[in-house]
C-alpha cells in the first residue's frame, strides 16, 4: 500500500546526488565525461571506416561531427547544475581547509558546533513532529488527493460541529468535486469470538465508500459494500491482518466465521492487508448506517467525513462548490446552519486538532519559531567567527594582493563556516533521532497506536530541511563576517599588516553588539534557568498518599448518547441524567469487586485541581486557591486524616449545606493560621462573558482541615486547596475516580477489567484517562524532567555562546587599543589610571547591557503577569549577571595588561 517516494522527492534526491558528485568528486566526473566523449568519437570513426572512409579521414570527420568538445563539456556542466558551484568556486580544498580550521581553533569549534547542534536538534525535532502529524503524505495511492470535510462553527471556532448526518447525505448527493464522500464514527465494542474469549476493541463504523477512498483491496474476502449499509442487511465485519493473526490465529477459513460485537452477531467478510489501519488507527470495520429520518437536523451521531478530490479539481475549487452548497443550506435552515461553514482541507488536519485556519497558523508559527532559535545561535557564532576573521585580516589582505578575488575569499570563509554548521547538523539530527525514538516508545506506551500516516523518523524532507538550515547558518556565520572583513581597501589592510595592527575598526558596532548580547542573556536566561529548576523540583515531589495502590480513572459520556439536538435544554438534562445514572451503577460495580478496597469520585483528580479566587469573611482580601469537588468519602479512601474539625458526612453533599474542608496550606496561608474551623469564605468568579464582572458565591463554612497531600504545580511554591462536597447527581462533565486496590492486588490488571465493566454498564461511557496512579505520576515526572533538561540544554548553550561571544568581542576591542595604551604608558601615564579607563569602558558596556536586560526581563515577565522582583528568576539573575560581567572583565584584562607591557620604543617603531 505504500507508494515509495514521490516523483518530486526522487527528482530532488537525484539532483542532490548529482551535485554532490559534481562538487566533491569533480575530477572523476570530468574524466568520465571525457571518456564518454572519446568513446563516442571512436565508435563513430569505426562506423565511418565501415562506410569506406580512410581511417585518418574517418577520425577527422568524426571529430568535426562531434563538434567542439570544450563547449559540450561546458553545456554538460551547466546541465548538471554545477555552474552555480563553479561561480561560487567552492572546492574540495576549501572544505579540507575548513576542517583544518575546525581543528586549529578547538574551543571556538566546540562552542559553535555544540550551540548550533542543540538549536538544530530542536528545530529539526519541532519540524519533524509537526510534519509527521499534519504534512506527511498519506501512504495511500494518490494520498495527497484525500481530503477531510467538516462543518466549522463560526460561533465556536476550533470546535467543529460533527453532528452532520443530514449534511453528509446532502453533500454525497450534490458534491461533484469530491468523489466517494465517506463518513465514519468510532465505537468501543465487546468482541466475543466463539471459543476465543472476549475483548474490548475499537471499531470504525464506516461507509463502504471509505475503502474506495483508501484504494486498498482486502487480502481475503471483500471490503464493505454499499449494500451492507442498507437497513436489514446482515451485519458484517472486516478485520485487519494483525487482528486476524493475533485474535483468530490466522485461521485460513476466517471468511464466513461469526463473532459477536456486543450482542449482535457479525459475519467476518474480509481481511485487510498487513499494516493497513484506517481511517486513523482502526483495525475493525463495520458498515455505518445513516437513517436521516431517525434524526432531526443537527442531531444524530458525531461523524468524521472524508473523500477524494475529483480528477483535475483543486482544494480551492472543491471548497468553492462546498461553500455554495453550505450557503444554500444556511438560507434554508438558518436556525441550525447559519453558524456553520463547511470546510475542506488536507486529510490529516481533521485528526490532529487543526480545527481552524488560526490553529494551522499556530503550528506553522511553532515550526518557524523553533527554526529562528538557530538564527539567534548562528548570529552568536557569527560574532565569534567575526573576531577570528578580524584576526586574519592580514592573511586575507595577502591573499587578495596575490590575486584572489573578493568572491574567492568570501567563498573560502563560507566553506569554513559550512563545515562548522554541517558538523552541527549531523550531531543535531542524531539528537533529533534519539528524541523521535523516545517519542515513539512513549507514544506506543501512552496512546497505543499512532495515526497510520505518522512515521516519526528522519525523512528525506527533514534532512533537506536541516541541510537548508545548516546552509543558512553557514551564510550567517561565514558570509556576513567575510563581507565585512573584505569590504575595506586592501591597500589599507596591507599597510596595517606591515604595522602589525588589525585593520578592522569596530568601535560602535561592537559596543552595541556587546550591549545587546548581555541584555539578551540577562533578559532571557535567568527565567529559563528558573523554569528548568521549577520543573526539576516539581518532578522530584511525590504525593503523600499510597499512590501505588491507586488506579486513576476519568470518564465522560459520548455527546451523541442521546438523540436530541445538543443546542436544546432538554438535551443537557437528558445527557446529565444518563451520565449520573451510568456513573452510579459503575461505582456500585467497582465497589463490589473483591480486589477493591474503596473508590471515591471528584471533579478533579487530587493534584490536578482548578485554580480560582476566594474571599475570606472579615479579611476582605482575595486569594488564589485550588478547588476540588469531592465525594464525601474521598479522604477516607485516600487515607487522609482530619487534622482539625470533622470530615465530610453525607448531609454535606445536600443542597444548601455550604460546608467546605481546607488543607493545611490553606489554613496557614489564606486564613492566617490559628483555629480556622467555623470561619467563612466565598468563591469569586468572573462572569461567563469574560468582561470581568464578578459573580460571588454563597458563604461557605470551614468544617475541617486536612494535610496537604499533593505537591503544588511547577510554578507555585504552595497551592492552598479547598474541598467542597459533591453529590453524584450534580456531576457534569468528566468524573475522576480514585480506586484504591486491596494490598496484593495489581492495579495494572484491574485497568483492563474496568474498561469492560464500564462498557457493560453503558457503551456510551468513554474513558478519558485510565491507568494506575503510579504510572501517571511516573509519566508526569518523565515529562517534567525532559522539559527541564531541554530548557537547561538550550540555556546552557546560549549562555556558553554569549559568554564566548562577549569574551571574543571584548578582548578584540581592547586589543585594538593596545597601541594607544602603550603610547600613553610611554608618555608617562599612570598604569592604574590607564587600567581604570579600560575597565571603566568595559564596565559601562557590560552595565548598559545588564540594565537593558533587566528592563527587558521585567517588561517580558509583566506581560505574562509575573515579575522577577517577586522572585521568578531572582536567584538565577545574579548568577547570569555575574558570569557575563566576569567574562567581560576577564576578556579586557589580558589585552590591557599586554598593552601596558609594551615597550614604548617598540610601539613607535611599528609605524
Amino acid at each position: 500500500m505504500r507508494v515509495p517516494g514521490s516523483p518530486a522527492l526522487s527528482g530532488l534526491l537525484a539532483r542532490l546526488r548529482s551535485q554532490w558528485r559534481g562538487v566533491f568528486r569533480r575530477a572523476d566526473v570530468e574524466a568520465e565525461m571525457r571518456e564518454e566523449f572519446e568513446h563516442h568519437i571512436a565508435l563513430r570513426t569505426e562506423d565511418l571506416i565501415r562506410r569506406g572512409l580512410s581511417p585518418s579521414e574517418a577520425a577527422r570527420r568524426a571529430r568535426i561531427e562531434f563538434g567542439h568538445i570544450e563547449s559540450h563539456s561546458e553545456a554538460a556542466r551547466a546541465a548538471r547544475g554545477l555552474r552555480l558551484f563553479d561561480r561560487l568556486g567552492v572546492s574540495w580544498l576549501d572544505v579540507k581547509l575548513g576542517v583544518r580550521m575546525l581543528v586549529k581553533y578547538p574551543w571556538l569549534s566546540l562552542v559553535s558546533v555544540a550551540g548550533m547542534a542543540v538549536a538544530i536538534a530542536i528545530g529539526a525535532g519541532g519540524f519533524g513532529i509537526i510534519y509527521a502529524l499534519m504534512d506527511a503524505p498519506l501512504p495511500l495511492d494518490e494520498g495527497e488527493r484525500v481530503v477531510s470535510i467538516q462543518n466549522s462553527d463560526v460561533t465556536n471556532p476550533g470546535s467543529p460541529d460533527r453532528r452532520a448526518v443530514h449534511d453528509f447525505l446532502l453533500w454525497r448527493e450534490q458534491l461533484r468535486s469530491v468523489h466517494d464522500l465517506s463518513a465514519f464514527t468510532e465505537d468501543v465494542r465487546m468482541l466475543t469470538i466463539p471459543s476465543g474469549g472476549s475483548h474490548l476493541v475499537e471499531v470504525a463504523r464506516m461507509t463502504a465508500s471509505g475503502f474506495r477512498v483508501a484504494r486498498v483491496a482486502p487480502i481475503l474476502g471483500r471490503p464493505l459494500l454499499d449494500a451492507d449499509e442498507r437497513a436489514g442487511a446482515p451485519p458484517v465485519l472486516v478485520i485487519a491482518y494483525e487482528e486476524w493473526q493475533s485474535r483468530f490465529g490466522g485461521d485460513p477459513a476466517i471468511i464466513g466465521r461469526t463473532v459477536r460485537l456486543d450482542n449482535t452477531v457479525h459475519t467476518v467478510v474480509g481481511v485487510m492487508p498487513e499494516g493497513f489501519r484506517f481511517p486513523v488507527d482502526h483495525r475493525y470495520w463495520v458498515p455505518l448506517r445513516l437513517d436521516p429520518a431517525a434524526y432531526e437536523l443537527g442531531g444524530g451521531p458525531e461523524i468524521w467525513m472524508f473523500g477524494r478530490l475529483a480528477d483535475g479539481v483543486s482544494l480551492e475549487q472543491a471548497q468553492a462548490e462546498l461553500t455554495t452548497i453550505g450557503q444554500r443550506m444556511a438560507a434554508a435552515h438558518p436556525e441550525t446552519h447559519e453558524r456553520l461553514r463547511p470546510w475542506i482541507r488536507p486529510y490529516t488536519h481533521a485528526f490532529v486538532g487543526v480545527d481552524s485556519p488560526a490553529r494551522a497558523w499556530e503550528y506553522r508559527a511553532v515550526q518557524i519559531g523553533l527554526s529562528l532559535l538557530l538564527i539567534v545561535v548562528a548570529v552568536n557564532v557569527a560574532a565569534l567567527v567575526y573576531a577570528r576573521t578580524a584576526a586574519r585580516t592580514g592573511e586575507i589582505a595577502v591573499r587578495t594582493a596575490l590575486g584572489a578575488s573578493r568572491r574567492r575569499v568570501v567563498t573560502r570563509l563560507f566553506a569554513e563556516a559550512l563545515v562548522l554548521s554541517l558538523a552541527a547538523a549531523v550531531i543535531g539530527l542524531s539528537i533529533a533521532e534519539i528524541g523521535f525514538e523516545w517519542i515513539r516508545v512513549l507514544a506506543t506506551r501512552e496512546v497505543g497506536e499512532l495515526p497510520f500516516w505518522m512515521d516519526l523518523r528522519l525523512s528525506p524532507i527533514l534532512i533537506a530541511y536541516v541541510l537548508g538550515l545548516a546552509v543558512l547558518a553557514g551564510v550567517i556565520v561565514g558570509v556576513v563576517p567575510a563581507l565585512q572583513a573584505t569590504g575595506r581597501s586592501v591597500q589599507g589592510s596591507l599597510q596595517r599588516l606591515s604595522s602589525r595592527r588589525s585593520g578592522m575598526q569596530l568601535g560602535r558596532t561592537w559596543t552595541t553588539l556587546i550591549v545587546v548580547q548581555v541584555a539578551i542573556a540577562v533578559a532571557a536566561l535567568p527565567y529559563a534557568l528558573y523554569s528548568a529548576g521549577r520543573f526539576a523540583r516539581s518532578a522530584a515531589a511525590v504525593p503523600d498518599y499510597p499512590v501505588d495502590e491507586f488506579v486513576h480513572a476519568s470518564f465522560s459520556i459520548r455527546g451523541d448518547a442521546v438523540p436530541a439536538d445538543p443546542d436544546t435544554a432538554s438535551y443537557e438534562a437528558a445527557i446529565a441524567a444518563r451520565f449520573a445514572a451510568s456513573a452510579a451503577e459503575l461505582l456500585r460495580r467497582i465497589e463490589a469487586e473483591p480486589e477493591v478496597a474503596g473508590v471515591a469520585f471528584a471533579s478533579h483528580y487530587p493534584g490536578s485541581e482548578r485554580v480560582g479566587q476566594i474571599e475570606v469573611e472579615g479579611a476582605g482580601t482575595r486569594s488564589p486557591v485550588w478547588f476540588n469537588q469531592v465525594d464525601v468519602d474521598l479522604f477516607t479512601v485516600f487515607g487522609i486524616p482530619v487534622l482539625a474539625g470533622r470530615g465530610f458526612v453525607q448531609a454535606d453533599a445536600a443542597p444548601g449545606a455550604n460546608t467546605v474542608i481546607v488543607d493545611r496550606a490553606f489554613a496557614e496561608q489564606v486564613v492566617g493560621g490559628g483555629n480556622v474551623i467555623g470561619r467563612r469564605i466565598r468563591r469569586i468568579e468572573r462572569g461567563e462573558d469574560g468582561t470581568g464582572e464578578v459573580e460571588v458565591g454563597p458563604w461557605l463554612e470551614i468544617v475541617g482541615v486536612v494535610p496537604t497531600f499533593t505537591p503544588p504545580p511547577p510554578f507555585e511554591s504552595v497551592a492552598p486547596k479547598l474541598y467542597q462536597p459533591l453529590a453524584l447527581a450534580d456531576v457534569q462533565g468528566p468524573l475522576h475516580l480514585g480506586i484504591r486496590m486491596r494490598p496484593g492486588a495489581a492495579p495494572a490488571s484491574f485497568v483492563g477489567r474496568l474498561r469492560e465493566t464500564a462498557h457493560a454498564v453503558d457503551p456510551a461511557l468513554r474513558f478519558v484517562d485510565l491507568q494506575p496512579a503510579l504510572q501517571e505520576v511516573r509519566g508526569r515526572r518523565e515529562g517534567l524532567i525532559i522539559l527541564a533538561v531541554l530548557i537547561a540544554a538550550v540555556t546552557a548553550s546560549v549562555l556558553l555562546l554569549s559568554a564566548a561571544g562577549i569574551y571574543a568581542m571584548m578582548s578584540f576591542i581592547v586589543a585594538t587599543r593596545r597601541r594607544e595604551i602603550g603610547i600613553r604608558a610611554a608618555l608617562g601615564a599612570d598604569p592604574r589610571r590607564i587600567l581604570t579607563g579600560v575597565f571603566g569602558r568595559a564596565a559601562r558596556q557590560l552595565g548598559g547591557g545588564v540594565l537593558a536586560g533587566l528592563l527587558l526581563a521585567e517588561a517580558g515577565l509583566r506581560a505574562v503577569g509575573g515579575s522577577w522582583l517577586r522572585g521568578e528568576g531572582a536567584h538565577e539573575l545574579p548568577i547570569v549577571v555575574a558570569i557575563m560581567v566576569a567574562i567581560g572583565l576577564l576578556a579586557a584584562l589580558g589585552p590591557a595588561r599586554r598593552g601596558l607591557a609594551v615597550q614604548p620604543a617598540e610601539v613607535l617603531h611599528e609605524d
Binding site: 516523483p7 526522487s10 527528482g11 534526491l13 537525484a14 539532483r15 548529482s18 568520465e32 565525461m33 571518456e35 564518454e36 566523449f37 568513446h39 563516442h40 571512436a42 565508435l43 563513430r44 569505426e46 561531427e65 562531434f66 563538434g67 567542439h68 568538445i69 563547449s71 559540450h72 553545456a75 554538460a76 551547466a78 546541465a79 548538471r80 547544475g81
Partner: protein, 113 residues
C-alpha cells in the same frame, strides 16, 4: 538519404527518453537508434546529445552505469528510471494531443467553419 526534418524545439528530451525506453543503451547508441527508427529523417547534432543526457540524469529521469560496449571498450549505459517512464508517458500524451490538434486545424475546410 531521405529528407531530413528539423527537430522541433523541446522534442530532443522526448526522443532521448523514448530511445532509452527501448532498452539500455550508450550515448552513441541513442543517436543511432533515433536515426534508424526515423529512417534517417531525424539527425541530432552529436555533441549536443550529452548535455541533454546529463540534464535528464540530473533530473532523475534516467540513470547510468558503466559497462562494456560492442567494441569491448568501457562505455556508459543509460536506462530509464520510474520517474523517467512516467515523464515519457506524459510527454507522449502531450505530443499526441498537440499533433491531433494541429492536424485538425490543418484538415479544416471552409464549410466546417
Amino acid at each position: 538519404m531521405p529528407d531530413q526534418a528539423e527537430l522541433l524545439p523541446g522534442t530532443l528530451d522526448l526522443l532521448i527518453l523514448k530511445a532509452i525506453s527501448l532498452g539500455e543503451v550508450h550515448g552513441y547508441g541513442v543517436l543511432l537508434r533515433i536515426e534508424e527508427i526515423s529512417g534517417g529523417a531525424l539527425m541530432i547534432q552529436q555533441g549536443a546529445l550529452y548535455p541533454a543526457l546529463y540534464r535528464l540524469e540530473h533530473q532523475g529521469l534516467i540513470e547510468s552505469e558503466w559497462g562494456k560496449s560492442e567494441n569491448n571498450r568501457r562505455a556508459k549505459y543509460y536506462r530509464l528510471t520510474r520517474a523517467g517512464r512516467r515523464r515519457l508517458g506524459e510527454e507522449e500524451a502531450n505530443w499526441n494531443r498537440l499533433v491531433n490538434a494541429i492536424g485538425a486545424v490543418l484538415r479544416a475546410r471552409p464549410q466546417e467553419l
